[in-house]
């Protein structure tokens, strides 16, 4: 049966042109964005699903507690991280003291340590049975209850732990902001007679405010995302509550509703950040970068600066790293066995797969956006990048609900068709974990890749096309070779993020499929803190890689040297929320 219109069009010796109104690239971008957005939308949809008594029960009992605890966490960590982050950034960019160049990158080191690892470490170090209190008792002859000692496993303890590993976000963004403004305004204010203190409070701080606000927003999102620390410390924040409601009480719907409330909370946070930013970025009047004269600190001042910069590095990295190393040395021979290697391999496989997928999907989406930038594709990619702001526990809930439904359908179908039950092929397998990683970390690779595509001008695309290459050929021959360094960076960043990830992995991993992070979590839960050191140390060592990448970017972006691509990528990565470009 042939339709006349088809026959007609075939008769025309038509040139092989076609309308590219909706091509494969755009379609891919849309489908991917929709997939990535699905879990978040599922969770949000649960706001409207009545779950009867459970929700009433939660709302009247634990919910107020979750909210106040999470708020206190945010206030504490936000304040701590901004004071340390802004202070150290100011000191290393505008003052000169012994060790300044070392601190420029060393201040980033705590980023390498996941919050739960630092929490386990300090608990082991400071707890009743830990070396410090034991020594104290030995020296004084006191016994239990004779002396007051701060409890690490408490809300203030959690605040300190999270502050120690999260302040680098504020440091990084504040430092970049101070560097940017240094030449154009600070010199002028100096010639106008501003002392260092007035320079800071009247000029530098207001100008850097948007960057600092963005840094604090990132810190608060990470705070809300944290699961390992609060769970271990018994601090009842939202994420701990979601986990308990789901795993402990077996109420996924109620967990989803908690997750929805948390997601709305984060949306409010992002909105607030954008409001405080006012009418966008502060515009700098000149783009000249030059070595700027720093305040030379001597004697007591230099010592104070050294202390202010040294303490965060010492407490946030050096001490925990040494403790971990010692414990790993002691317990390693016992812990590092076939099972450990299997876990390491699982971690590596998951992280590698996630990195490859994240980079490939992000590259295709970014390229699709480039081929045809419309309002729809822009929004689609923006939604896809939203996942980074959403805690892993929430994403886990949002991934599991649709996937188990899909599994049910698939099984119904196969049973009806062939009388075969295939089992939980999606929700019970590695697919679910990888899906959750994509939702959460796609923004990392996407932002890095979009920034690096800036190296390829649109005219280069056009030139390749007029020279006879199709879009795919152009991508392979022009974009990939030019951006390959940045693609590798993006892959490494996703790899490391996945290595460190705990809540989503914990909730979604296949049965008996453990990773290093899971092992550290389980050993710590069994109060075998010294035994947890080996997997923890492995995670920290991998976590140092992005710190090195950022350090290199920082070294290259010193005033006087031109702002490099690496710096822009680092910025893009830090700009994980993508609010900057909204």
């Amino acid at each position: 049966m042939s339709s006349p219109s088809l026959a007609e069009s075939a008769a025309v010796p038509a040139p092989r042109g076609r309308r590219r109104f909706f091509n494969g690239w755009t379609a891919f971008t849309f489908v991917m964005a929709a997939l990535i957005a699905l879990p978040i939308l599922v969770v949000l949809a649960y706001v409207f699903v009545p779950s009867g008594g459970i929700w009433q029960h939660l709302a009247s009992t634990v919910l107020p507690g979750y909210i106040t605890t999470s708020l206190w966490l945010m206030v504490g960590v936000g304040l701590g991280a901004s004071v340390i982050g802004v202070g150290t950034a100011w000191l290393v960019t505008l003052c000169e003291f012994p060790g300044r160049r070392l601190f420029e990158w060393a201040l980033l080191l705590p980023m390498a340590i996941p919050a739960y690892v630092i929490a386990y470490t300090y608990t082991g170090l400071l707890d009743f049975a830990g070396p410090l209190q034991s020594l104290l008792r030995e020296l004084t002859g006191w016994s239990h209850g004779d002396y007051w000692y701060p409890d690490v496993r408490s809300l203030p303890g959690a605040i300190v732990m999270l502050t120690l590993v999260l302040y680098p976000y504020v440091y990084l963004l504040a430092r970049a902001a101070f560097l940017e403004q240094s030449v154009c305004v600070l010199e002028v204010s100096r010639t106008l007679g501003c002392g260092p203190w007035r320079c800071f409070s009247a000029v530098a701080l207001p100008l850097a405010r948007p960057a600092i606000a963005a840094g604090i927003t990132l810190v608060l999102m990470e705070t809300l995302n944290d699961f390992g620390t609060v769970q271990y410390f018994g601090v009842n924040s939202f994420t701990a509550g979601i986990y308990r409601t789901w795993m402990g009480m077996g109420e996924p719907a109620a967990a989803a509703q908690l997750a929805a409330v948390l997601t709305l909370f984060i949306a409010g946070l992002v909105l607030l950040e954008r409001l405080t930013r006012g009418r966008g970025k502060v515009h700098h009047t000149t783009s000249k970068y030059r070595q700027l004269p720093r305040y030379r600190l001597n004697g007591g001042h230099a010592l104070l600066a050294l202390l202010a910069n040294g303490l965060p590095v010492l407490i946030g990295f050096v001490i925990p790293a040494i403790v971990l190393a010692v414990w790993a040395w002691q317990t390693g021979p016992r812990i590092i066995d076939a099972r450990f290697y299997a876990e390491a391999r699982n971690s590596f496989v998951l992280a590698s797969l996630a990195a490859v997928f994240a980079v490939a999907i992000a590259m295709i989406m970014a390229y699709g956006l480039r081929l045809r930038r419309s309002r729809a594709t822009t929004y689609a990619t923006r939604i896809a990048a939203m996942g980074y702001g959403v805690p892993g526990a929430v994403i886990a809930v949002g991934v599991l609900i649709p996937l188990s439904q899909l599994d049910t359908w698939i099984n119904d179908f196969t049973v009806a068709q062939w009388d075969v039950r295939v089992g939980l092929i999606l929700s019970g397998g590695i697919v679910a974990v990888l899906f959750a990683y994509m939702v959460r970390f796609l923004a990392v690779s996407f932002n890095a890749i979009e920034a690096s595509l800036g190296k390829v001008t649109i005219h280069m695309d056009d030139a390749a096309r007029t020279l006879g290459h199709k879009p795919l050929g152009t991508l392979l021959r022009v974009h990939l070779p030019i951006t390959k360094g940045s693609l590798l960076t993006a892959a490494i960043l996703v790899f490391v993020d996945v290595m460190k990830e705990l809540p989503a992995t914990l909730l979604l991993r296949p049965f008996n499929f453990d990773t290093l992070a899971i092992r550290a979590y389980q050993l710590a839960s069994d109060e075998r803190l010294a035994d947890a050191a080996a997997p923890s140390l492995a995670i920290v060592l991998v976590g140092i890689v992005p710190v090195i990448i950022l350090s290199v970017a920082i070294a290259k972006s010193r005033p006087g040297s031109e702002a490099t691509q690496q710096e822009r990528i680092a910025e893009a990565v830090m700009d994980k929320t993508a609010v900057e470009r909204a």
Partner: protein
């Protein structure tokens, strides 16, 4: 338009959002012809070029290449299947490829040996044979421009498109590269479309010039004709600074201080503008009585500009208009400020057009 046109744009209109950038544009290029699209920035000339290349998708009209329709509503042959060579304003050389590989980029249909041979010939054509192994960032602006030209010519395209190819070069180098490019393009025999905003560049290079303004084609003609027989006030003023006078048509003539100027094809009583090029005003020292057809003026200032003298003249009031005209006199002629002079008008460089709404 004849059927052997290599490139033809028929009734092409284009809009970005609510902004109309091309309005019923018709352009045709004959085999081997060098055509310049000339106009101020924002006149749509680059859009026309991008439509011809297929980088921009056509909205309305039709584009044919060597008689084959490549773009029409519902039809879009992508750039990679159009066989067009393009040179971009920023050259857009691929930074990760050597000069040789850049030039070979468009030759993937050939085998390796043939590709190398053809690329070598193209580099030879532009005098860059010695730089095959260099990378783009090692080259000067002029050298990059030559490589871009070689890369565009290497696949032997049906049409060569150049988008403001000299605007990135400083003015001394520009004249040199312009001349070089002209000869390379002409020797290759490729039909060429050059977009430029520089009238001198267009006059220097083009076989024919397409003058564009606000998305419309104002006039298509050979350079000489454009200068001497401009179709309207816009074309007239675009090629040089101009002396302008308003008047009304009476008996087929418009009155000027230099006597009556014929206003053919204008309605009786219509408002008209008289446009006089600076070189049309002949200045002589005023001795004794004013000659017939001359106007008296005094000199405000005189300057040497390149090889001509540029004289500011004040004519006092004429029919309610205060007239301040400029005259360009070849060679050195430097009257003193305040000198009284006699000025006559050469009719060949004087044009009368109906008053446009904008001019009023």
């Amino acid at each position: 338009m004849s059927s052997d046109d290599v490139l033809r744009l028929e009734g092409v209109s284009h809009a970005f959002g609510d902004t109309r950038v091309l309005d019923d544009v018709n352009i045709d290029a004959k085999p081997g012809e060098l055509l310049c699209l000339l106009g101020p920035s924002g006149c749509g000339k680059t859009t026309a070029l991008r439509l011809a290349a297929g980088i921009e998708e056509l909205q309305q009209g039709r584009i044919t290449l060597a008689g084959q329709t490549v773009a029409a509503p519902g039809l879009h042959v992508p750039p990679e299947r159009r066989s067009v060579g393009m040179v971009f304003q920023d050259y857009a050389l691929f930074p990760h490829l050597s000069v040789m590989r850049n030039v070979q980029f468009g030759l993937s249909d050939l085998d390796a040996a043939a590709r190398r041979k053809r690329a070598g010939e193209a580099l030879e054509q532009v005098g860059m044979s010695a730089y095959g192994d260099s990378f783009p960032h090692m080259l000067s602006g002029g050298q990059q421009q030559r490589v871009a030209l070689a890369r565009a010519l290497a696949p032997q395209p049906r049409v060569l498109l150049l988008d403001e190819p000299f605007s990135g070069l400083d003015s001394n180098l520009r004249a040199h590269i312009r001349d070089e490019t002209l000869h390379v393009v002409k020797d290759s025999g490729t039909t060429t479309l050059i977009v430029t905003h520089d009238p001198e560049e267009a006059m220097y290079m083009a076989d024919r010039i397409v003058v564009m303004n606000e998305g419309r084609v104002e006039q298509i003609a050979i350079p000489d004709k454009l200068y001497c027989e401009p179709a309207n006030a816009f074309v007239t003023t675009f090629f040089s600074s101009i002396n302008r006078l308003e008047g009304r048509v009476r008996g087929g003539m418009v009155a000027t201080p230099f006597g009556l100027v014929p206003a053919p094809n204008l309605a009786e009583g219509a408002r008209a503008e008289v446009l006089m090029r600076p070189e049309a005003l002949r200045v002589t020292p005023l001795e004794g009585a004013l000659p017939d057809g001359a106007a008296a003026a005094h000199v405000l200032d005189a300057r040497m500009l390149r090889r001509a003298s540029f004289i500011h003249l004040c004519f006092g009031a004429f029919e309610g208009q205060h007239l301040h005209f400029h005259s360009r006199v070849p060679g050195r002629y430097m009257p003193q400020t305040g000198d009284h002079v006699a000025v006559t008008l050469e009719r060949a460089q004087t044009f009368v057009f109906p008053m446009t709404e904008k001019g009023a």
